[in-house]
């Protein structure tokens, strides 16, 4: 039985023990947990384990195959890195919720049925919201509330879909689903919310930047990648996703350009990276799915790395807004270097992690003959380079003013960033290491002259464009502001409607009462004139009117029966 212990459970149960320990011992336990889970994962053989029969249905808590293995592996690696990054943090709320959240995500990856998936799905939502609330500001509290509502909503929709699906087919297996009717459409919708599909995306940009320094790094790894995994598992090859993904890959970059908060810029870029994965899922060929898995694997690393760098900047300089930052490379040289590694990885510079993954997705798209989508994705990757490879390092570390002086990031943060950077470079240099754990046999040569030169060309010209725009001061200035996004619908439009409805009803009610009162008062005053002291009239009129109603009802029914 112990041999079949799901790795996610190790994290969840272990996390609950953390508050019992003394503060200085906690980080050691926190590090031990994901490491133990990793060991457990590596010793488990492929196949179905930990099955429980409830009410005639078999719940599978542990299904290990190619796809779940690679996602579980990277989730656990991310959990280890997060613990190192948050070593200095002495906040039990974040410590427990961060690990429970990671455990829930790992748990969700390994389940084999939709009911257990729902349970972990909701658990990721509930556990993660504390990472946002842990900022302990009013803003974060409200953003967390909105985040929670959206996430729980996704779970409820998932459940509704699962129930309907079960009624229609009698199966609760978490496997390939055909998009044929309402049940599977609901399930896809629930996945889509968590995967930040266009118009369903805004919870991400709304909430992630409000979390704590450590919290944002943790958040960036799990929720959306879990959704990408679920999509790859259930909806691989659904054509609709190709187009959804293409839109997702483009429009967030536009928002990123005009966003001032760099952590929010990263949230938009994260959204764009998900677009690449969704396109890959939509293509659905083995090459594409390998690309999705590889992109998720590398993506978790380099996005965590970038969030870590920005977190370190926020931690030391007190702000992560482009308009407040500049010149940090002198104060934080290591962080600067790691940020550039992260930027190079996400922009798919050859010899860095992103290159070997993104090439696979692009090749799969080209193989499928979707030339418009292919062009869009190419343009989007130029845009990503422009934002994360150039703008973020420039704005935070090299811009002239204001010049900020502060200390280099703490040692544990540097260690976490360093390890992550090493991983990014190692994977970029020896892709075979990652290709060995991908779900399908890899038959793809990434370092060909064609791939390398064309990619370098794309990047060099994008850099040139950035440089020209900057020199001619065409580039939009970084000023404190926010930009309207789809959250406007539920933060402004809907409340306005509710207010109108409420005010309207209130007016109608006041008028109706005023009118009715005049008449009633006359009637009642006549009937109850002798019934005593002040206030009694107001209290007794319900009796009178109810009796009236009783009489009316009785008469009506009697007359009714009489006619009948």
């Amino acid at each position: 039985m112990i041999a079949e212990l799901p790795p996610g459970l190790i994290l969840i149960v272990g996390a609950l023990l953390i508050p019992l320990l003394r503060p200085h011992l906690r980080p050691y336990l926190m590090l031990a947990l994901p490491v133990a889970a990793l060991v457990q994962l590596l010793t488990l053989p492929a196949g179905l384990h930990a099955q429980v029969d409830i009410l005639g249905h078999s719940l599978v808590f542990l299904r290990i195959d190619g796809l779940s293995f690679v996602f579980g592996l990277i989730f656990l690696i991310a959990a280890v890195l997060n613990v190192i990054y948050g070593w200095h943090e002495d906040d039990p709320v974040q410590q427990v919720s961060g690990l429970v959240y990671a455990g829930a995500a790992v748990g969700a990856v390994f389940v084999g049925d939709l009911v257990s998936l729902f349970v972990f799905w909701e658990l990721t939502a509930i556990a993660s919201v504390f990472l946002i609330w842990a900022s302990r500001t009013e803003r974060a509290y409200r953003a967390g509330m909105r985040y929670l509502l959206v996430q729980i909503g996704s779970g409820v929709i998932l459940l509704a879909g699962v129930i309907l699906h079960y009624r229609a087919t009698g199966s609760i297996a978490f496997d390939r689903l055909e998009l044929t009717g309402l049940p599977t459409a609901l399930i896809l919708f629930a996945f889509g919310i968590k995967c930040a599909f266009p118009l369903l995306h805004n919870w991400l940009q709304d909430a992630y930047p409000e979390a704590t320094v450590v919290g944002t790094v943790i958040l960036s790894a799990f929720t959306t990648k879990l959704a990408a995994y679920a999509l790859a598992r259930s909806f691989a090859g659904t054509d609709m996703l190709i187009w959804i993904g293409a839109i997702m890959a483009v429009f967030p970059i536009v928002y990123a350009v005009i966003e001032n908060d760099l952590r929010r810029v990263m949230a938009y870029i994260l959204n764009n990276q998900l677009g690449f994965m969704v396109v890959g899922v939509g293509i659905g060929t083995p090459l594409a799915l390998n690309g999705v898995a590889a992109l998720a694997f590398c993506g978790i690393l380099y996005k965590a790395l970038l969030f870590m760098c920005l977190g370190a900047v926020l931690f030391r300089a007190g702000s992560a807004r482009a308009s407040d930052l500049g010149g940090l490379w002198k104060s934080m040289p290591w962080t600067t270097g790691f940020c550039i590694v992260g930027g190079a990885s996400i922009s798919a510079v050859p010899l860095f992690a992103g290159f070997i993954a993104k090439s696979m997705v692009l090749a799969a798209v080209a193989e499928g003959g979707h030339w418009i989508v292919w062009l869009v994705l190419l343009a989007a990757s130029a845009g990503v380079f422009h934002q994360t490879g150039l703008r973020i390092p420039y704005a935070a570390f090299f811009a002239r003013n204001p010049e900020i002086r502060c200390r280099e990031a703490p040692l544990n943060m540097l260690a976490a960033m360093g390890i992550t950077s090493l991983l990014c470079i190692a994977i970029g240099v020896y892709p075979a290491m990652l290709y060995a754990v991908l779900p399908y046999q890899v038959d793809f040569a990434v370092y060909t002259a064609s791939h390398v030169v064309t990619q370098l060309q794309l990047l060099a010209f994008a850099a040139l464009a950035f440089s020209i725009l900057l020199r001619h001061r065409v580039y939009p200035q970084d000023v404190p502001s926010i930009n309207l996004d789809s959250d406007w619908i539920y933060r402004r439009l809907l409340p306005a409607f509710v207010d109108v409805y409420r005010d309207g009803l209130r007016m109608m009610r006041f008028r109706a009462i005023a009118r009715a009162q005049v008449r009633l008062n006359r009637f009642i005053a006549a009937v109850y004139r002798h019934h005593g002291p002040q206030g009694v009239l107001a209290r007794t009129w319900p009796v009178g009117s109810t009796v009236l109603w009783v009489a009316v009802l009785l008469c009506v029914t009697l007359v009714f029966y009489y006619i009948e």
Partner: protein, 494 residues
Amino acid sequence: MIAYHLPILQIVVPLIAAPLSAFCRRAGMAWYLALIICAASFAISVALLVRVLDEGHISYLLGNWAAPWGIEYRIDAVNAFVLLIISGMGTMVLPYARVSIADEIEPHNQALFYTCYLLCFAGLLGMVITGDAFNAFVFMEISSLATYVLVALGAKRDRRALSAAFTYLVMGTIGATFFVIGIGLVYMVTGTLNMADLAARLQGLEQNRTALVAFAFIVTGIGLKLALFPMHLWLPNAYAFAPSAVTVFIAATATKAAVYLMLRFLFTVFGTDYNVLGLTLTYMFTPLALAAMFAASTVAIFQFEIKRMLAYSSVAQLGYTVLGISFASVTGLTATMIHLFNHALMKGALFMAVGAIVLRHGAATIDSVRGLGRTMPWTMAAFVAGGLSLIGVPLTVGFISKWYLVAASLESGRWPIAVLIVLSSLIGVIYIWRVIEAAYLEKPPEGRTAREAPLSMLIPTWGLVGANIYFGIDAELTSRVAGAAARLLLWVAP
């Protein structure tokens, strides 16, 4: 031997214990006695339900007088289920009541409170268990008189409880009088008071004018008792000003017993052969139920006091119950029966949470819950869970009720009603959200000392919340019993 006498023990035990508790000098002793008695009652009703599900109906003749002449207690799936609801809620409330009652009622009245509580408890059980129409009236009076006193005991906290109790007394008496007039008229026509016998003898009297008038009186009388819109005006004040524990108890049980009587008379005694039954259901119950769902919910939005708000919500929920009756189909009555149970759970949990707020802050208004999400997290979380159930979110019992109601309306081909059911749930979202918004998104007023409610209140509250979720996920048991009850009422073979 004891097993044979269980039906009478169900009534006699609390009825005898009531005067005994009046002799207790200390409230603690009375409370203890009441708790034991109610728990025993609950055990009895569980045993009865198990037996009924096994063997079909149980007929118990009081003093061995043969049926149409003597009083018969007749238990089948319908009333065994309602007995379970009443005794279960009655037992759940007591552990909760001790602290709350000690706070809200003057010390010299506290022992008497438990006397009245037991009387009311026994009366409600009697109303449900008996197979004799006049006996039902007697028990209805016992429970009602006790309830008036219970409501009036809220006067320590708010003097308006007295006038609320008075209003309730007037209205309740009118209802009971109508009911007894109806029974008198039926007796005139048939010469019997036993319900089964009445049902047999009323066959063929479909055109009898006296029987029709009796029908009208009975329906109106019980309608008043179950707060059928627009005869609900006594309810909000009674619920709002009664002591918190009483509110929980009567909200979860009193109207349920009345609904049971309504079902019994409509379907068992008069039966679907009566044309007027169909007419009443279609032209009276359906529109009134829909009006209740919307009007009462809308009123609830504007309420400032949370107890009052929930009271109006109860009127709306009774609308759902009556709507289920108005379909006169197996699914519709299943919806009604299951909603009786589910509504007891959700309103029980909500009123308990509100009672805890009253205990700590003296009142439960939208103002006084500001910021409570942080200072009374468990209480407010229970409120939120109950609220979600009230709205009908999946995985709660509220969802199960709505599910059956929508299914019933679709089955009868009246899909606009299904749409209205969903729409009216959305109004529920608004008034629950007002409380959540105040509790979680607003800051507490300055200088308020806040403590979480005592465990003795939290545990029963969370017990009910747990039941809300448990029966929301696993509705197998409740829907089976409710379905069996519905088929019995409609004389459909299982």
